[in-house]
Subunit: 151 residues, 4 copies
């Protein structure tokens, strides 16, 4: 079982949405399960892309009801724990891909780096020591693949 | 998506383990995904049974590392939140089946009843107003089926 | 530092409210700090009583804003974690007093017994192995005192 | 009730420890209660300073036992929720002061800015839009005072 987290803004431009979708497609192409916060924007784009390639998506939502999850979430987890659910997304993932994102995403990047989890960055917070920055979706997927454990 | 929670002791007799296994088989037979706390005993028996029937199992573990999950968990979720993860198991499930269990299970039953989630009870805490008690695994699965939403 | 938890229904009769108030007075009389879920009913009665005797009260509320705390809470802690905050009330307390209560209280009693914390019961869930049942507020305070660590 | 959070590294230089201590003294001087993660380094320095000026300190610790709190914590809260306890520190505070700090502190700064809570920064993460940067402890306390609500 390989689990790849995707973190990013819950609302985003169409361009970022499409990039996220291609990230999701690439993760499914690696045979990995996608984990995210289950909401819209980057999370929805990524789940959509993963499902298009036959992948499984896990959405760990902040609210009390799993119906909050976007329609491309295969397995929704309801937490009723607000932002504390960010830590579960990070803990559950082997590697994370950050696509754009605001302060919520930054909190997830911080926790990931604190825990020593690899983070691949695409159009996201700049100049963070510890992030593996890439320029394209293809490079992001290659970086994810390199970080994934063998099993 | 139908999600059925299985709650019960992390260590149990062989008899209860086999009952849990048959509960898991029955849940998979309903086309539902099984959710549990991801550890041993009843949780492991149920996951094992579900996987034997081709079902998907979600294990929301208390510790920081998803490797803590039993080998029959398809999707492990690491929380590092200890007993607080019990609430996620309950929140995420449409219906719960309690098989035997101690105080940890009782805390999950209590939260489920507090939230108005149906609980089917098999060899578990007695005389709890709100639990739908059954005598056999077959009856448990029939009760679960009746409680599941149509969608 | 001695910390005594008070758990019970968020809405209660005037009689139970007054009992809770006397429990709070007794806890403050022991020189202990009172910990609770910070809402109304038993929690408010207990906080009120403790403050009347000069005690400090801690209210760990389920919502995102500490203003949710009842007016007799000295130190409000906002969690935005819903029922998961119950575990914090239990973890933080040396001893707990359960006064009446529904399923939420039962979940706290269960976690306390699971963790091996002493629970004193007054007009609460019956016949729970592990609860030290008492008939009067005075007996409850005596039982709490006996359970408190020396330091 | 005014609650001021102090966030920063759990291990720090003597210089930063002394700065944190003076921050704690200043917070107590404002009549505010200090909230922190309850461990060492900046958290301990700040609690120590606050207690020296007669202030109350709240330490919300990550582990299961409140004995983990540093010796200058008046009210310890045990969570057993690891890094998720960071969110409680932020939620409970009216204003936060960040002193130095690594990725854990950055996660707290991020959540604070996400929630619209004022953050005063002293020798901490640079160039974060939204942080009110100051050069001295005195300026930090003045900034905190300006941000505190009237009540």
């Amino acid at each position: 079982m390989k689990l790849v987290g995707v973190i990013g803004a819950g609302a985003c431009t169409q361009e970022i949405y499409e990039k996220s979708r291609r990230v999701g497609q690439g993760i499914a192409g690696l045979g990995a399960t996608l984990v995210c916060g289950g909401l819209g924007g980057v999370m929805e784009g990524a789940c959509r892309g993963a499902q298009e390639r036959g992948g499984i998506t896990v959405g760990i939502v902040p609210g009390p009801d799993r119906k909050e999850a976007n329609p491309y979430v295969t397995i929704p987890i309801a937490t009723d724990m607000g932002h504390a659910r960010n830590i579960l997304v990070v803990r559950t993932s082997d590697v994370l891909v950050a696509v754009s994102g605001g302060y919520g995403t930054l909190s997830e990047i911080s926790i990931a780096l604190k825990l020593g989890k690899p983070v691949v960055g695409l159009d996201t917070w700049k100049q963070m020591h510890g992030i593996r920055y890439v320029e394209t979706v293809d490079d992001a997927i290659r970086a994810v693949e390199a970080f994934l454990p063998e099993r």
